[in-house]
Amino acid sequence: MDLSAINPVLLVASLMVAATPILLAGIGELVVEKSGVLNLGVEGMMITGAICGFAVTVETGSPALGFVAAAVGGALLSLLFAVLTQVALANQVASGLALTLFGLGLSALMGQGYVGIKPPSTPKLDIPVLSDLPVVGRILFGHDLVLYLGIALVAAVWATLKYTRAGLILRAVGENHDAAHALGYKVIRIRTLAILFGGACAGLGGAYISLVRVPQWTEGMTAGVGWIALALVVFASWKPWRVLLGAYLFGGVTVVQLNLQAAGVAIPVEYLAMSPYLVTILVLVILSADKSRAPASLGRSFHAAH
């Protein structure tokens, strides 16, 4: 065992990369849940985004187009969920599960020709002086644009929810859909938009796994990250900045266990690989006591009687 082989600068830099998929999916799901909808299909939307982004990047050679395609793919799949839960008024838990099962199958079907291919690499930000700074340069200025987009999204969601009229309406719909309806807001339309936003974010997160983090396509490669993102929203008590904190915590656990595996620690690989899931459970247990922050209408269908 040689722990000195672990480079702390690289560790932090790769922690940020590992956290980004969870962060993107988590912030999207936060908006969805703030509107009062529980979409358990994050895993399915992520894996669909992963293959859409991967396929388009390989075909066009452009990672930028790939990420756009991933967002569109995730949003399209989430549209299915929106139709089921907002128009057909189906149970949200069951519909979310259906979305995940469907997305896993669909992505496997779409990804058949793409196994074992290496995608064009996503360009990293390279600012002349800043990126070459020792330690800080590598951590703060040496990543690809999508990683910064993730952080910017957190800030944008935070500001929108807190300071804008649109954010206020979204929260009103999530807290009490009957009151929002009585005030004349289109509950179904607002929720559908929120669901689409969540789908696009999950798609981006998925593509980040297949294009940057791994980068490769294998069936079921998201391996529960979508579910961790769902847990993250609970962990964050539906607060955007805490999503960032939580994502970095989970990213940290993932990266540290991978580094420990590589360093040959005397713990079997399988037990190290369990750790992100166990940490998720542990965090859920610690934070579940306080449920007061959850949007009051979360998971309830809205049907305007008249």
């Binding site: 299915l80 069951a94 199958g105 529960g224 847990a231 609970v234 899931y277 859920l284 579940s288 049907h303």
Partner: protein, 360 residues
């Protein structure tokens, strides 16, 4: 303008009809999907739904129907109890794995002892394994209010790692020339879950599934606990006034579904699969969720739905080898079925009518 009016009570007729309509719609759209993949849709649908039952080689496929259907029904019956009460056990796949590990562990520990009590002990071990794994989310939910959906699902991934660790380490066959995987329980007579009638596919898992169906039917229709389960799902407030204790219900529903999933795993590992290996689990725990909904969370419905789902598995395999239909296409097909089912449920709970007048 189309208007939805909530029915005072769910329509019984539509409740029975939706699964059938959903299956037909899935066949139609599945056919379109197969056509898009360049396969003859009629031939593909016939291969999936007709050939396993009445085709040339049906004598081989019919027993498979029981082998594949038994774990699905066994798991789905357990899940349906919780789903009815709004308790969502999504981690049946993990409980299935742990049940198989515990059960097989008992058998492997006793090897090469030949005695009548080896298999019963393994059955107990399997049920106990699944029960313990399901008790983790149950106890956490009761004690800390933790979301059982997320915890049970996280435990699937933990169980998969445990399975990998076991089949590469502790349970590896010492006479296996270093290959991963345990001893083959099919060659250990006291532990082998053999067919009860040769060539029928009927093993102890099938018997257990049938017993579970009857047990669940009696529980839900004739027993106070079953009434409490239904009451909690349909009218949580009324359930509170009726003195239903949620904690007891959570522990029972999750425990029962875990034990049944564990049993399904044990019957699989000691019978059709034979060995503990990394790729032992094939997603029965997740497909069973579809089975439970397709069967309307009703024991008899689940029995029928389990049969149908087993048919798509077997038909899918035939279509894979005969027509070159990708395995993932069947997964999409199964997912589609659940979509249509959930969407069509609208007709059970709401009356759809066209409204021409502006007066609302």
């Amino acid at each position: 303008m189309i208007v939805l009016d909530k029915r005072p009570q769910p329509s019984r007729a539509w409740s029975m009809a939706t699964p059938v309509v959903a299956v037909l719609a899935t066949m139609l759209f599945g056919g379109l999907l197969f056509a898009a993949l360049g396969k003859n849709p009629v031939e593909a649908i016939r291969t999936i739904f007709w050939d396993p039952l009445f085709g040339e080689f049906a004598f081989y496929y019919r027993p498979q129907l029981l082998v594949k259907g038994a774990p699905l029904v066994l798991i789905a019956i357990g899940l349906s109890l919780g789903f009815r009460a709004g308790i969502w056990n999504i981690g049946a796949e993990g409980q299935y794995i742990i049940g198989a590990l515990m059960g097989a562990g008992v058998g492997l520990a006793l090897y090469p002892l030949e005695a009548w009590y080896v298999f019963p002990l393994m059955v107990i071990g399997g049920a106990l394994g699944g029960w313990v794994w399901a008790m983790i989310p149950a106890v956490l939910k009761v004690r800390f209010g933790t979301n059982e959906i997320l915890v049970s699902l996280m435990l699937v991934y933990v169980a998969e790692q445990l399975l990998a660790s076991m089949s590469l380490g502790l349970m590896k066959n010492p006479e296996g020339f270093g290959f991963p995987g345990s001893r083959n329980l099919q060659q250990y007579e006291s532990a082998y879950n053999a067919e009860l009638i040769a060539g029928s596919g009927m093993h102890w898992g099938v018997v257990a599934a049938l017993i579970a169906v009857i047990f669940a039917y009696v529980l839900l229709n004739r027993h106070m606990l079953g009434f409490h389960i239904r009451l909690t799902g349909e009218a949580p407030r009324a359930a509170k006034f009726a003195g239903v204790r949620p904690a007891r219900l959570i522990l029972f529903c999750l425990g029962a579904s875990g034990a049944l999933a564990g049993l399904a795993g044990l019957f699989e590992v000691s019978g059709p699969a034979g060995v503990v290996s990394i790729d032992f689990n094939v997603g029965y725990g997740f497909t069973a969720i579809i089975v439970a909904f397709l069967g309307r969370l009703h024991p008899v419905g689940i029995l029928l739905a389990g049969g149908l789902m087993a048919l798509t598995y077997i038909g899918g395999e035939i279509a894979q080898s005969n027509l070159g239909l990708p395995a993932a296409a069947i997964q999409v097909f199964q997912g589609m079925l659940l979509f249509f089912l959930l969407a069509l449920d609208l007709l059970t709970n709401y009356r759809v009518r066209a409204a021409w007048s502006e007066v609302a």
